[in-house]
Amino acid sequence: MKHFKNPFVRLLGPNVRLLLVPIAIIGIDVTLFAYLASTGYSRITKQLSEYRSAQGSEKVLSDKLEILRQVEAEISTGAESTVIALPNKNPGIFSISQLRLLSSENGFVIENLELANELRDQDVDKMDLKMDLVGQDLPSVVNFLTNIQALAPIMTISEVNIEVEKEGGWLTKMQVSIYWSSLPTTLPKIDERTQGLTQQEVQILTKVSNLKPPLFSVLEPSLPRSRSQPFN
């Protein structure tokens, strides 16, 4: 009988020998199970977290792409009109041009035009434009003052003083403020969430798009033409 030959087995009793193998198997299984449960759970949890993070990033990118596709057609002209309404540099020349045009439409003459009081701010810079308007007609004065609000670049009326001219007619001394702001210099990161235009922004855009822009003329280069007298 072989169990009599193994000295270790001979030391153990018959009861212990019978129970040894299943107890050993159960012990090993429990140990492995405990190890797998703890290690496996932490790894699965970590992997799940990574998966959720990747899903989140994918959603952000997908939404961003969707928004960019939606707004592509809408904003093609909108951006231009907002830059005309609030330029990135001092719009003094454009504003003066607009006021001269408006004054001539209303039968006024602009005198004593002066730019002063430049004020730099974090967001929007500002300057004052002072002028005197000489005209005959009071309703035209009101029309002029009302229509300033409809011009681009945006101007706000700071002060108006209307008095009777000695020679007849009306002398209007007024001060308007003109605004400009530097352009953004950085784009957000590609993974950053993007929003489309909000309701409020659409309303402002509509308002700005309806402002009357300055007249720009494009000078085309003239083509070469033949000279009948080349030496003249």
Partner: protein, 174 residues
């Protein structure tokens, strides 16, 4: 009949045999559970890894498509920046209300009443009118008082000169 030559002290007890059988069954079950756990854990890990890799690949694809629309994104950023600042400017006092007051008062002036001077300031409109007689002055003041939408009307000047007539100065706040 066979003779059992095994000594009694080498024979396991009856209850121990039963216990061993039960433990054997338990051992088989525990091995099965362990194997099942391994399969489930491994399967989940592989599944999640694959899905994560797929998501990362999709992200690269989306980034490429967004790069193509970079010009649109620039315009959108510019537009939002401008609109935010335009809103700030539009919230400033524009003089619109003061011009409206001035226009309303001009329309209220009866015959024999002329504008002498007008000052449109940031928060108010000051208007001085010349009136030929007291009746027209009363009519004008009554019309002004009856005007809706004015927050406050202050009489700042009331003068009479025989050569000029009445001069009434009012300050309007909308």
């Amino acid at each position: 009949m066979g003779i059992n030559l095994l000594p009694q002290e080498f024979k396991p007890k009856g209850y121990v045999v039963k216990l061993a059988k039960a433990l054997n069954k338990l051992a088989i079950v525990s091995v099965a559970v362990l194997l099942a756990t391994v399969v489930i854990l491994l399967g989940s890990f592989i599944f999640l890894s694959q899905r994560t890799k797929s998501s990362v690949s999709n992200q690269e694809n989306l980034r490429g498509q967004i790069q193509v629309l970079q010009a649109t994104e620039q315009r959108l950023v510019l537009l939002k920046d401008r609109l935010k600042k335009v809103e700030k400017v539009l919230d400033l006092p524009s003089g619109k209300e003061e011009v409206e007051i001035f226009q309303e008062i001009l329309e209220l002036m009866p015959d024999g009443t002329n504008l002498a001077e007008a000052k449109l300031l940031k928060d108010s409109a000051q208007i001085e009118v010349a009136v030929d007689n007291l009746a027209n002055t009363s009519q004008f003041l009554a019309s002004v008082v009856a005007t809706q939408g004015l927050k406050r009307v202050t009489l700042i000047n009331f003068e009479f000169k025989p050569e000029k007539g009445y001069t009434v100065g009012l300050d309007f706040v909308k």
